[in-house]
Each structure stands twice: as C-alpha cells, then as structure tokens.
Amino acid sequence: MTLNIQVIIPLLIFLIAIFAIGFIASKQMSSGGGFLQEYFLGGRELGGFVLAMTMVATYGSASSFLGGPGTAYTVGFGWILLAMTQVVTGYFVLLILGKKFAILGRKYNAVTMIDFLKARYNSPAVAILSAIAIIIFLFSAMTAQWVGGGRLIESLTGLEYTTALFIFAISVLVYVTIGGFRAVALTDAVQGAIMVVGTLILLIGVIIAGGGVPAIMQDLLNENPRLVTPFGADGTLTAGYVSSFWILVGVGVVGLPQMAVRAMSYKSSRAMHRALVIGTIVTGFIMLNMHLIGVFARPIMPGIDVGDKVIPLIALEVLPAWLAGIVLAAPMAAIMSTVDSLLLLVSSAIVKDVYLNFIKPEATEKRVKQISFGVTGILGIIVFLLALQPPDLLIFLNLFAFGGLEAAFIWPVVLGLYWKYGNKHGALLSMITGIASYIAIHFYNEAYGNLLGVHTVTIPVVLSLAAYIIGSLAIQRKAFRF
C-alpha cells in the first residue's frame, strides 16, 4: 500500500487531539490529596461518563476491533453470539465490586488493586505474588497491543513498521507519563466516543454497500447456510465452547487488575450508577456493530485471508478515504486506550506495590514523583524496543495474560470482598492454582483439543475457587472484620 494522504490526515488530527487532551489533563493534576492518589487513580474523582468510557475503552482492545470482527468474517453469526457475551461486563464489574470496593479502597487508602489485597489479607506474600503476576503478564499483553498499534498504522498509511510504531509510542508515552490516570481516563473517554461513532458509520456504510441487510443475508445463505447459524461456518462451534466465553470475556473480567482499579476511581455513588447504564449500552453497541460489520463484509469483499485486515480493508472499500480515516481512528483508539491503561498499571505495580512497599517505604513525595515519571517513561521505552522485534517469550506470555490473570485474581478479589472467612492462605493457594492450572491446561488443549470442550479459562477458574475455599477454611479459620 502506498502512502494514503486522505487517510493519514484524519488519523493525524486524532493523534494530535489525544495528545492535547492528555496535556491539558496533566495541567489539572492538583497537588492536594497526595501525588500517588492523583497520578495512579485520578484523585478518585471520576464522573459517570468518564468512568464508563474508560472501562469500556480499556477493556475493548485490538481484539474487539480487528481480531474479533475478522473471526466473525470467517465464522459467521456464531461469532457475534460469542462476542455478545461481553455485554455483561458493562454492569457486572461495577455491580460486583460495587460500593464495597470503593469504600474499602478509601478506608485502606488503596491506590492499586494490590493495595487492597495487601490490606485485606494482611500479607506481603500476597502482594509480592500479585505484583509479579501483573508485571509479567500485563507487560507482555501491553507489548502485543503495541505491535498491533504499529501494524495498524503501517497498514493504513503505508509507513514503515518502525516509523509507525514510533509515532504510536510517542503519542501514548507522552500523555501517560506526564498526565497519569486522569489523562488516561479523559483520553479514554474521547477514544470511546470515537469507537461508538466510528462503528456506527462503518456499519451503515457496509449495509449500504451490501444492498441492505436482507440482500446480504441472502448472499450469506447462498454461500454457506451455516454462516447464519450459531454453530459456525464449519458447524464446529459448540454451545459449551461459546458459553465458556461468559467466563473469559464476561464475568471473569472482574478479576482483571486494570478493571478493578477503575472500580475504586469514581467520586460518588451517582457516578457509579450513571456508569452502569452508559457502560452497558456502549459495550453492547460497539460489540454488536463491530462483529456485524465483520460478517456483513464477507459478501462484499470475499477472500480476505488475514482476519486483522478485514476492518481496515472494508472501511477503505465502502467509505470515502477521508471518512475511512476517521472510522479507522476507532481501532487505533481502542488499542491506545488499552495500552495507556496497562502502561500506567504496570508502572503503579512497580512504584507503589514493589518500590514503596518493599524497597523504600519512607520515600519523600518529591522522590515518589520522580520515580513515577521515570518508571512510566522507561517502561514505555522498553516496550517500544521490544515491540520492534517481539521476542517469542513475550508472545508466549501474552497468551496467558487475560485468562491467567482472571484465574489468579477473581476469587481473591471477589471473595475477599464478600466472604469473611477468606484469608491469605486461601488467596495464595488460589492464585498459584489459577496460574499453574491455566498454563497446564493451555498445553493440554494445544495438544489434545479443548478439555471438556470449553475454553482454557473455565477449569482454572473452578479450581482456583476450590483452592480459595479449602485454603481459607483448612488453615486458620477466622472471620475477617472489614
């Protein structure tokens, strides 16, 4: 693909706008309330709209905008059904962690999810293990997303991968480093809005290009009737497998640290209530639209081999170039808004959970400030260098990032909130069981096909629940006072 100026200009305007918002947010950082609260949690001042958008945008990543629709293109309506399991995240995370998490977060003065776990279980071992899991897995996940961001710019603009990655890296790095959580949340809100508008425009464009929904449906039926069934183009998508995504991308999302930290960042009950409504509607809207686009693209542009290219190609096909540029800012926004949150989260795990907890608890405010900026910036540079030529180990670790963290954290967080007999023994056992069994079952499934016909995440989540209960009750049974 050669350089496409009409596509580049809207993307460039988007990047500059995001940059400006991040910069303005950094100016707003107040000195009251402590630097750490401000930098890593936005001073717990998020309103309903920004809270909802930052949750949706953090959660919706390259896979919702490129990979997912690409698979829907190949598999048909069965994959949209699977994608719609994500609607539950819109209300579930906030209702489950809910007001109790927000109140306890304030009581314990917690800035990160690990702060909460450390106070709840009164155990440095829990904190260290969590920090290691977060740093390793989310660091890998973040790098994979950066590669995705670079590749997307490369394919849209025709720039070299290295140049594309550099543009992507600089734009994210600057606003995250100087602006912290507030900049991340505000840019997420704008990016979320772009995703909503972008998916709607593209869906309309695709339907018009396909001659209306009934015509598209007829084309699909003519090609392969299975495309409109819930069972996939080759009939192998089973109800059990699709349902197990309710855990992976649905209710299990409660255990992801980047989501949990947002559930203690809002300023009031009212903000949380608004975010419940907005989050549910926006998540469902984006997921439904994007995956419909993937399926509808099939009769219009048959024969696309690489799933990730379906959305960029169909946008360039059905929309005028300048409008395609605007629409394609949406996957860009999705990747950026995931990456910025992960970057800040890994940085907080290093600064708050490792450095301040174990290395230098008495550090001065000024020192903490320097360290926070420094760690965030350096992390970004390391990720950039790794993304230039991603090592195999990183790609390997990324496979476990999502499900592995869910299996590790879901019960220590949820039962830690609601079950008074939960204790550090249960939490440790649950985290170790979750991660170890996830890796083991991953290899089993790779070799022999899915155990019990469900996604890898399912069994580890059940095992880690058992481990949590057994560990808590068997050793030191004592009620916790919140």
Binding site: F77, I80, L81, M84, T85, V87, V88, G90, Y91, F92, L95, I96, G98, K99, K100, A102, I103, R106, K107, Y108, N109, A119, R120, N122, G212, V213, P214, I216, M217, L221, P225, R226, V228, T229, P230, F231, A239, S243, W246, G250, V251, K267, S268, S269, R270, H273, R274, L276, V277, T280, I281, G284, L288, L417, Y418, F480, R481, F482
Partner: protein
C-alpha cells in the same frame, strides 16, 4: 484516608459498616442480572438456532434466533440496568468514615 490498615483488635465495639448491607444486596442483583442475561442469551440462541437454517425466519433481515438472543437481549439488559439503577440502587457516601444519620453515635 484515616487508616492504612483494616480495623483490628476492637472486639466489643465492632459493628459492620451499615453501607455494606446495601453493597451486598447490590452485588447479588449483579449476579441475578448476569444469570438472567445468560439464560435469555442461551435460550434463544440455541433454542431457536438449532433448527435447520431453512426454517429460520428473519426479523429486520436478521435470523430470528440472533435477533431475540443478541439484539433484543441487549436492549432488554440495557432497560433492566436503567430501571434497577433508577429504582433499586441506593446512593450512599463513599467516604472512609461514615456516620449514620438515623442513630446518633454512642459515646
């Protein structure tokens, strides 16, 4: 931002924060919504979708199982969330220290 640790060693005066009762109820509502959501989603998708494709009817151009399971399901869940946030969820302050208004603090 009063304490860094969980309150401990206060055997006689310990009383759970009354706000947690509300929080527990709301978490259960979340579980209930998710279960309902799952049943609706699964029931229509595999109840209607398991027929041979020739028997599908089409609503707004979309296959019936998909329309009920994913489109109506999504709209219904959004409506339920709106109703519940409006009429069931309670607004409570989130501050670390909480003083009940109904009963004055005992000395």
């Amino acid at each position: 931002m009063s304490t860094n640790k969980a309150p401990q060693n206060a055997p006689d005066t310990y009383k759970p924060d009354p706000r947690f009762k509300i929080a527990h109820k709301e978490a259960l509502i979340g579980v209930g919504l998710a279960i309902f959501n799952f049943i609706w989603w699964f029931g229509f998708a595999y109840g209607l979708g398991s027929r041979p494709p020739e028997e599908y009817t089409y609503i707004l151009g979309l296959p019936d199982w998909f329309f009920y399971s994913c489109v109506i399901g999504f709209i219904l869940m959004s409506a339920l969330v709106i109703v519940i946030t409006k009429f069931v969820l309670k607004e409570v302050p989130l501050d670390a220290e909480y003083i009940e208004k109904e009963e004055p603090q005992k000395p």
